[in-house]
């Protein structure tokens, strides 16, 4: 292999690709060539670094300089200054929102965003080129598979996973080793392992980033699982909306086959393992295990009752073991470093780390991986940098459409499976959405219910009809037509659906409503009784008003699509509430902050 003096790592994750990182890669290669550095400097396209907010992100090694929001016109400067003359381009170096510190003299690990993290599942994301198996191999890749196949019995592998305390990262938190044991115990001529990469939580992208940044970690783990339970075939069910992840998986599977790490007689041990990709087609319910298997079989993705459990009768009627992407991403490290290394991290009942997709009203939008037991406050304020624009934090949503919203008072909750449930939410797959004072909690509840109504497969009545009824009531409330007794009706419907729905989608559908009712009941009451939206979000319950800060510049009157604004030039303007469409265009336009919502 060639030895390079410096490496330019350009993020090729979805976030940065969307803001043009592919162009940056081309330009870097071109400029490096032009400056005669092609033999000394190598450009690598990696997966997501985690700090997507700062994208497109470029990191230069060996010094670890972190450049953020890099534009095509900055490339030449980085090449001619940093790479040629060794002088950092200060104005492009990442600035920490919270501390206003630049990291010019700091190592990457010392940036607040990374300091509190421990990256196991994300160990290679943003570090290696996911389309080059040699780079994965250089990071101890496939050594865990070799160790399992050549030095461990199938029972020992299962024991190790069991002892590690690893639990399912797809949401339910079921002990992974136990699941493997059930499938191992099933006797059949054909068994399957499967990987759930259907990532349904809207606003979460942990699994996608792992597949995009380190696909081999999942492939290797599936092969280990196949050996342990006695399966020679595996299926990965990926959302079709993830084209980059699908492509990288295809490339990775092909390379693993070429290296003999997938296929027949792996490591000369007589173990055969073949892997196939199946694409989802845009149905949230297909994340549920029985629905997912029906979908792979080419049928409608409707859930069916359990038992029979998939470990007994799953895919194509054969015993099947399904794990989530992130669950798999931990396995090779556990086999390599041992169960005791892993179970020393985390809390009593939740071992290891958890990846979260931080989003919404937070400075450092992106992916973080922290030890179980880290408090919500640390994740949101230390790692995430808090809410932007000096706004006040209101709530954090965890667990997606099955989870709940937690208020400020619960920010010191250590994050693990049990604590989040006790607090009134749940871990879910790892979406973490932050809301500030401008977000209306009733509207957020309505948003999730709208999602559920959209995604309910309609097979059972409580879920199909009940969630629609709840959505009608919530819509009525945010439109200012809420009635006395609506809250009680919501609570009643929630209980019925929870107790009688067939699958997890219905059983948890009311959680966002129940948790907002628990912690933000006053907002519901203000909507219903006072016809007021405390967050000034709900259109029917607010008015745009011009204050005496108005300088009479007429900008607002010119953008108003309804002609609702009148006033003399250089005089205070006013809005006719009867004409106003509440589009907000005027408020966006006013440079003097004279227009407010009331």
């Amino acid at each position: 292999m060639d030895i390079y003096r410096a490496h330019v790592l350009v993020c090729g994750g979805t976030g940065c690709s969307s803001s043009g990182s592919a162009t940056l890669i081309e330009l870097f290669e071109q400029k490096i060539e032009e400056y005669g550095l092609a033999k000394e400097v190598k450009v690598i396209r990696t997966g997501c670094f985690g700090l997507c907010e700062a994208g497109p992100v470029v990191i230069i090694y060996p010094d670890g300089t972190f450049y953020s929001r890099v534009k095509p016109e900055n490339v030449e400067e980085i090449v001619s200054e940093h790479l040629l003359k060794g002088r950092k381009v200060e104005h492009l170096v990442y600035t920490d929102h919270a501390t206003k510190e630049q990291n010019a003299e700091k190592a990457l690990e010392d940036i607040n965003f990374y300091k509190h993290q421990k990256r196991i599942a994300l160990r290679n994301c943003g570090v290696i080129d996911p389309e080059n198996i040699d780079e994965y191999l250089a990071m101890d890749g496939y050594r865990a598979l070799e160790k399992a196949l050549t030095t461990m019995t199938r029972e020992q592998v299962i024991d190790e996973v069991l002892k590690s305390g690893l639990r399912g990262r797809g949401g339910a938190g079921f002990p992974t080793g136990m699941k493997w044991k059930f499938a191992y115990n099933s006797v059949n001529d054909q068994k399957y392992v499967a990987c759930n990469a259907d990532e349904g939580d809207p606003g979460a992208f942990m699994d996608r980033s792992i597949l995009e940044g380190d696909p081999h970690s999942v492939i290797e783990a599936m092969a280990i699982a196949g050996y342990a339970i006695g399966a020679s075939e595996g299926y990965i069910y990926v959302r079709a909306e993830y084209p980059i992840a699908v492509k990288r998986l295809q490339v990775a599977i092909k390379q693993a086959e070429e290296y003999g790490l997938l296929g027949d007689n792996i490591f000369e041990t007589g173990f055969n393992f073949h892997l196939f990709i199946r694409l989802g087609a845009g149905a949230f319910v297909c994340g549920e295990e029985t629905a997912l298997m029906h979908s792979i079989e080419g049928k409608r993705g409707e859930p069916t009752t359990r038992p029979p459990f998939p470990a007994v009768k799953g895919l194509f009627e054969k015993p099947t073991m399904l794990n989530n992407v992130e669950t798999y991403a931990n396995v090779a490290q556990i086999i390599l470093h041992g169960a005791d290394w892993y179970n020393a991290i985390g809390t009593e009942k939740s071992k290891g780390t958890k990846v979260f997709a931080l989003g919404g009203k937070i400075n450092n939008t992106g992916l973080v991986e922290v030890p179980m037991g880290t408090t919500l406050r640390t994740v949101i304020f230390d790692v995430g940098g808090g809410c932007p624009n000096g706004k006040k934090f209101k709530a954090v949503q965890t667990g997606g459409p099955s989870g709940g919203c937690l208020p400020e008072a619960l920010l010191d909750t250590p994050v693990d499976y049990e604590n989040l449930i006790a607090a009134g939410s749940m871990m879910g797959s790892g979406g973490m959405i932050v809301m500030d004072e401008d977000n209306c909690m009733v509207d957020i509840a309505r948003f999730y219910m709208d999602f559920i109504v959209d995604e309910s497969c309609g097979k059972c009545t409580p879920c199909r009809v009940g969630t629609k009824r709840m959505l009608e009531i919530l819509t009525r409330i945010v439109e200012g037509k809420g009635e006395e007794g609506d809250i009680e009706k919501l609570e009643e419907l929630a209980q019925t659906i929870k107790n009688t729905a067939l699958c997890g989608l219905g059983q948890t559908a009311a959680n966002p409503v129940l948790s907002t009712l628990r912690f933000f009941r006053d907002e519901y009451e203000a909507h219903i009784k006072e016809k007021r939206c405390p967050a000034h979000h709900c259109k029917n319950l607010l008015q745009y008003v011009i204050t005496d800060k108005c300088k009479g510049c007429t900008a607002c009157a010119r953008v108003c699509p309804a002609g609702a604004i009148t006033g003399e030039i250089k005089q205070q303007h006013s809005i006719d509430p009867k004409k106003c469409l509440k589009c907000g265009a005027c408020m966006e336009k006013c440079r003097f902050g004279a227009i407010i919502k009331k």
Partner: protein, 162 residues
């Protein structure tokens, strides 16, 4: 017409490739959606015959999944993200603005067949929220103000827009 014929020839090839595979219907429907841009009744019939399953089964699967559309979509497919991260950052107002500028409801197609407006869930670019995608090109950190200029770019262009 010739165009149709090549497309059906392509479909036939696709069916032959997958025919013996377990669970072939999904990949074939996905391929067909790619070839035709939708899975009309004729396409469903061809698939049913090719795979030896009933039309009812094909229809049942095609209507279950959001990815398959029974009617053709516009030349430019605009998908506005209504995932949670985008929603809390105001993507509803982006969608409303597009609906107003294009004068079509969400899910609708303009009469000239140029634009289809859709709402979608998380595009995975939450760091750029609020986000929309036009035929694979992602636009992030949007404000309602920025919408008309972006749409004009596509309106005035008869060829491909980069």
């Amino acid at each position: 017409m010739d165009d149709e014929r090549t497309k059906f020839a392509e479909l036939e090839k696709l069916i032959a490739e997958h025919k013996d595979q377990k669970g072939a219907l999904m990949p074939v429907l996905q391929g067909a959606q790619g070839i035709f841009g939708c899975v009309s009744e004729d396409v469903q019939k061809a698939i049913a015959e090719g795979l030896g399953v009933t039309l009812a089964e094909v229809y049942g699967v095609a209507t279950f999944y959001a990815q398959f559309s029974l009617h053709p979509k516009g030349k430019y497919l605009i998908s506005v993200c209504l995932g949670t991260a985008c929603y809390v950052k105001g993507s509803q107002s982006i969608l409303d603005k597009l609906s107003q500028v294009l004068d079509i409801p969400v899910g609708g197609t303009t009469p000239d067949g140029k634009f289809t407006l859709e709402a979608t869930r998380c595009l995975g670019a939450c760091g750029l929220a609020p986000v929309m995608m036009i035929n694979g090109q992602v636009y992030g950190r949007l404000t309602p103000d920025a919408i008309p200029a972006i749409i004009d770019k596509y309106k005035n262009d008869d060829g491909e827009v980069a």
